[in-house]
Amino acid sequence: MPKLRIEAEVNGRKVNRETEPHKRLLDFLRDDLNLTGTKEGCGAGECGTCSVFVDGKLVKSCLMPAGKASGAKIETIEGLAKPGDLTPMQRAFHKTGASQCGYCIPGMVMAATSALRENPQADIEEIKERLGGNICRCTGYTKIFEAVEIAKGVIAGTVPETALEEDTVDDSFIGANVRRLDAPSKVSGRLKYAADIKMPDMLQMQVLRSPHAHARILSIDTSEAEAMDGVACVITAQDVPGTDGFGVFVHDQPIMARDKVRHVGEAVAAVAAEDLVTARRALSKIKVEYEELPGLFDPGQAMDPGAPVIHDYARDNLIKHIPVRKGDVTAGFAEADLILEDDFTTQQVEHAYLEPEAGIAYVDPDDVVVVISPSQNISHHRHMLAEIIAKPINKVRFIMSPVGGGFGGKEDMIYQGMLALAAMKTHRPVQLNFTREESLIASAKRHPSRVHYRMGVKWDGRVTAIEFDMLSDGGAFGMSSEGVMRKAAILSCGPYEVHNLKVDTRVVYTNNTPSGAFRTFGGMQAQFATESMMDMAAEALDMDPFEIRRVNMMKIGAKTHTQQTLETASLDRVMDAAEQASRWEKGAPRVRGATRKDLNGPDTRQPCTLGARIKKASTDSDESERVA
């Protein structure tokens, strides 16, 4: 294959290299030059983790063929400041805490740097516009914008450089701004995430995934792929030496599909090869014969007689049922002046952390199988993997690489097992970096839920009884479903003391993408129903929504839904603060409307617009012309 020669200036140094013609600038920087501060979050120009300067203009290096870099001057996050130093922008990001997981931060720093290079006087609206191509998922934009504003002032000389220094802490750290210890490594792009790590002789893995939601695997023929030049090994479920199966509660998920596939995107086979392109080409040579089975997609039908069975051990497709009982709901409803009844549904949600799943496995000289990955639960993974690969626990080691956002989505061991198997089969380090699409299709999601709700209330707003019945779609595997149902049940009726309740949360198997852990762990779905019911009850009773909540809120001495007596409670203060901060206009919800006095206050977010700089440009030019 002909090579592409690239002569360029990168971070002030001349570079003259041959590389593969099809490489993107991102690949050239990361793979050929080891400049891994530039990240790959999506590969489609959507996220901005790969922003770099080319001839002074900020571009997304995942959208640029490497050839375009030839003859160009390139500046990456590593080149902004001298080694060991930070620019005012990087120091400002450090100061304001604008780096949580840090995966988007090199790109953010680049975009912020570009914004001020393009217009050192850019106002906040223009700064927001110019950072519009970069996404953050956990730091939040407020701290980032704060950082850009501080840096703008320092660069312009209107703010003293001391503004970049850490605030002094007096007697207590509580309420003080303390800088994050790991921020310099993140704002400088030096922190190595799993995909940034390279080891000598390392293979690249790619995964063949199921196109079917539910199908029996009749045969897998890997011979042609295995015979390919550059392919080190192909692995399937047949390569698992121990007891296959992992999961946070029930070990129902094989490392790779065994006998059948249960959702679109489930791993069926994996290839480890000398390079990524060879591994991807080898996938297309693997022949899998499937026999499609009837699919189950509606959790409402999962427990019907005759519904397709997803796992043999659970003929009724029930993963878990959590019942909570307190008091006497029949009596509670009898006591009620009004009974409200409604249904609430929530949808599947993807975590969309900026760092797609990535990992490396190798076998060390003492035969310890080592897995490096941004796992949110390495000890549990280690125990499970030991069983799966039939090794004593001291021969399995997990190293947690920096997590570029997890939010619960990296609790499941969905690829670490494949890496371990390939490393054991080849005795070479093996790396797997998910694409964004692969992350979307293979990782767990927030449980879609349906809640049927009955609430009995007195005319004074007091809730006398609640029946809360939740059905959640667990998807193809159990993952964290059991824990999510427990949390949903515990939090079901909200921070309100209800003497009579009947709570049931159920989660069932379907052939949808598996559901798992996600921030709030089931609480969000339950609170959506409960808080909506509270508002609807307030409307029905002609009460202020804050008032009905105050009538029912848990106070010191209250008994929770699971009958724990509270020794402290702060909901009263929380509600006072929320009411004040929102400038709440008292009254029943029916008075809502455009005439409310609490709308459009000083902190209200304005509708988004674009183009402030267009009008400014034409005004500026008029002025400059007059001068000329």
């Binding site: 997304k60 959208l63 063929p65 694409t435 674009l610 700089r613 440009a617």
Partner: protein
């Protein structure tokens, strides 16, 4: 994943045309490359292997722009960001800055060319309605017996359907020629799901010029994208406004009438509502953006009293 064997970067049009004429079947021309790389991914084209890529961005012949008899010839290497940074272009093509600001983001606009956007011929390409409103033509060049031969095709005819154009196998698009519309007010309306980086569900470009008093529509240009397989120039709407006294009532009336004539590939009811709102918003916005003229609506007082 996109792979290819050779990446060419010709430095003259002749060299590019020769390379292109001799390129192996399945090769692609590439300008900013911001569309082809996301295309060759899972869920769209998947893994794609192409024999050759011919990059046109190092050809000086198609850089920059030039005025010619009331028109502007935009070289094919004109990128979207140019419409936000070049004051001359901003003034002469008043709908383009608004189109550009809603197109992708600052970083992609540095790479993405207007010509590439037109040649890709997506039904929801942001550039198409704006160029159609500017009476745009596309210039296509090819080699004929060693000589460069050029032809021009109106953009409204050039795009024949989703991803389909009149470009011939051996041609390279070298320029877009548009009306210079100094003194017009411009507007671009777009619906999508996110502020930056969103592909339009539908979009609309408008150019408006009034008399000096701001009372009468002297010239109106309106075009829609995303409501059919190819861009739509709203000639009847333009005609029913030209020479008329400016009023909110008239704008509302033509917006309703326009929506009746617009078909759509999907979500018809939604798109109909969008079209009505687009035309109304685009006209009012373009009137506001007209430089140095204070527009007086005939029914202005009525509106305030109402």
């Amino acid at each position: 994943m996109l792979t290819y064997d050779v990446y060419h970067m010709p430095t003259s049009l002749e060299e590019a045309l020769t390379l292109w004429a001799n390129a192996a079947e399945g090769s692609r021309l590439v300008s900013g490359a911001t569309d082809i790389l996301p295309w060759a991914r899972e869920g769209r084209a998947g893994d794609v292997h192409l024999p050759e890529m011919v990059d046109v961005t190092r050809i000086p012949d198609i850089d920059g722009y030039a005025f010619e008899k009331g028109r502007i010839r935009l070289g094919a290497n004109t990128v979207y960001q140019d419409f936000l940074t070049d004051v001359t272009l901003m003034r002469s093509l008043p709908c383009m800055p608004y189109c550009a600001i809603w197109f992708a983001d600052d970083q992609i606009r540095e790479q993405a060319s207007l010509t590439g956007n037109l040649v890709n011929a997506s039904p929801v390409a942001d550039g198409t309605p704006a160029v159609v409103a500017l009476n745009g033509e596309i210039e296509l060049a090819r080699l004929d017996g060693g000589q460069i031969v050029r032809r021009r095709v109106p953009v409204v005819d050039f795009i024949t359907g989703p991803g389909r154009t009149q470009i011939a196998q051996d041609e390279i698009a070298t320029a877009v020629i548009v009306d210079a519309c100094n003194g017009f007010g411009g507007s671009f309306q777009k619906v999508g799901l996110r502020r930056s980086l969103v592909i339009s569900v539908a979009c609309c470009a408008a150019l408006v010029k009034t008399d000096r008093d701001g009372r009468v529509f002297e010239d109106v240009r309106l075009a829609l994208g995303g409501v059919g397989p190819s861009p739509i120039r709203m000639i009847e709407t333009e005609n029913s406004l030209r020479g008329e006294r400016i009023s909110h009532a008239l704008i509302e009336q033509v917006a309703q009438a326009a929506a009746d004539r617009v078909g759509s590939r999907s979500r018809q009811e939604y798109r109909r509502e969008v079209v009505v709102n687009f035309i109304r918003a685009a006209l009012e916005d373009a009137l506001t953006n007209q430089p140095d003229i204070d527009v007086k609506f005939e029914d202005q007082e009525e509106q305030i009293n109402a």
